[in-house]
Amino acid sequence: MTASLRASAAIAGAAESEIGAAPDGTRPIDLMARACLRALADAGLTPADVDGVFAATTQLPMAPVNLALELGIDARYSDATNVGGSSFMFHVGHARAAIAAGLCDVALIAYGSTQRLVGRSSASVQELDPWEAPFRPAMPVTAYALAASRHMHEFGTTREQLASVAVAARSWAAMNPGAWSRDPLSVDDVLASRMVADPLTLRDCCLVTDGGAAIVVTSAERAATLRRPPVFVLGAGEAHSHRHITGMPSLTATAARQSGAAAFAEAGLTPADVDVAQLYDAFTITPILFLEDLGFCAKGDGGPFAASGAIGPGGSLPLNTNGGGLSYTHPGMYGLHAIVEGVRQLRGESAERQVPGCEVAVTHGNGGVLSTQATLVLGSAATL
């Protein structure tokens, strides 16, 4: 039996560094630290208030140590969990447990990457499976293309339906002045762009940018004393099912089923209660899988659901409202940017793209090759 952590912790600050293309000489820690200072200022705190450091980036294997030095943080709790792009949803779950156990009071969760500046292959060393490597699968896109091929085979999902995910993301990005790609994009444009890994074209794939993000997590009590409206962590779940794509039990069902079920059960909410969703979109197939596995639609219906207009502006489930990894930014590991957008929506700060009456947000992270999944159900004070 475990004590409920529902709403025991809250996000009290959230921010990003400059995103896009970083100037020559920029270090990943520069972007991470910049985002942290902005997130702390957002919360009305300084580095001296922080005693828990949670950070991950492929470029800094000991990221919390780098960050503590950079900002002069005397950390009594550190967590370098790196499970790919979902790491930061894992961090939120771990941070609230550490806070509840009294191991830290103010947790900083941070990311920074210069993968565009230094090149993707320099930023991330690929861990190859010895039984996959001889067949030279360009990773990660090969894994996602294989998953898409299987989804098309089992459920009749079409390339047009995949493309509709990219089109919806671009429609949101058009309302976000900070988005990397804002030009109009049609389904035909996606289909006509360069084929990368059949059935995925260049426009089915996420951006390659630089950037950093940070959030401040503290107890609900402490958050209530800070300068911003708290965003409560109503539920969190994490799961993983395989490391390399060969080991994935079924290519059409992800561990998001487990992470989502845990997060929703703890929150006492269902997908029907969700006002806005930020579901990791590394490739157009990923939000389709997560819409199904988190219960927003039935298994196999993700393609028609996406193509129906439900996920775009004015739709029934606004999805990836900043433009997502496909059109807003994707600095290698996007998860924390999805959390930041969830926070902005719940605080009503998303300007032209703001979802009216937003009280419940789901942010879902994916890491590796559909390997690691973590779900956060976040809520405004109205959900307590």
Binding site: W131, F135, P137, A138, L146, R150, R194, M195, D198, T246
Partner: protein, 126 residues
């Protein structure tokens, strides 16, 4: 460390012999990717040779500028394990999921001597 306990070493040696070996548990359940012990129980694994017959489970064609597209596929072997390989004998982007395939081994790599199990449509090589 004299025993060949590495599953990589065991499988590479089998591939050099033209055998598609896979580890399985005491009750005959295949385990792939190979590992040092049965998942969940930690019991030892034994290696068997696959018939090499299987079905295409998932497939993609990787496109790069100035070179022909090439196939990467996941093959479900009849013994019940799924491995990565490629399908030859058809255009890289025209491999139907569900196609029956049969393993064949590449010639030895001139430098390393390594051989790889690749797959061809089963009816062409029955």
């Amino acid at each position: 460390m004299t025993e060949p306990t590495s599953p990589v070493a065991i499988s590479e040696a089998a591939w050099r012999d033209g055998r598609l070996s896979y580890p399985c548990t005491a009750d005959g359940t295949p385990v792939w990717p190979p590992r040092i012990a049965a998942p969940g129980t930690g019991e030892p694994l034994t290696w068997r040779d696959s018939s090499g017959l299987g079905t295409v489970y998932a497939t993609t064609a990787l496109h790069a500028r100035d070179v022909p597209a090439r196939n990467v596929a996941l093959i479900e072997l009849d013994e019940g394990f799924r491995m990565m390989s490629r399908v030859e004998g058809l255009p890289a982007d025209a491999i139907p999921i569900g196609l029956r395939v049969r393993a064949r081994f590449t010639g030895p790599d001139p430098e390393t001597g390594a051989r790889l199990p690749v797959f061809v449509p089963a009816e062409d090589h029955a």
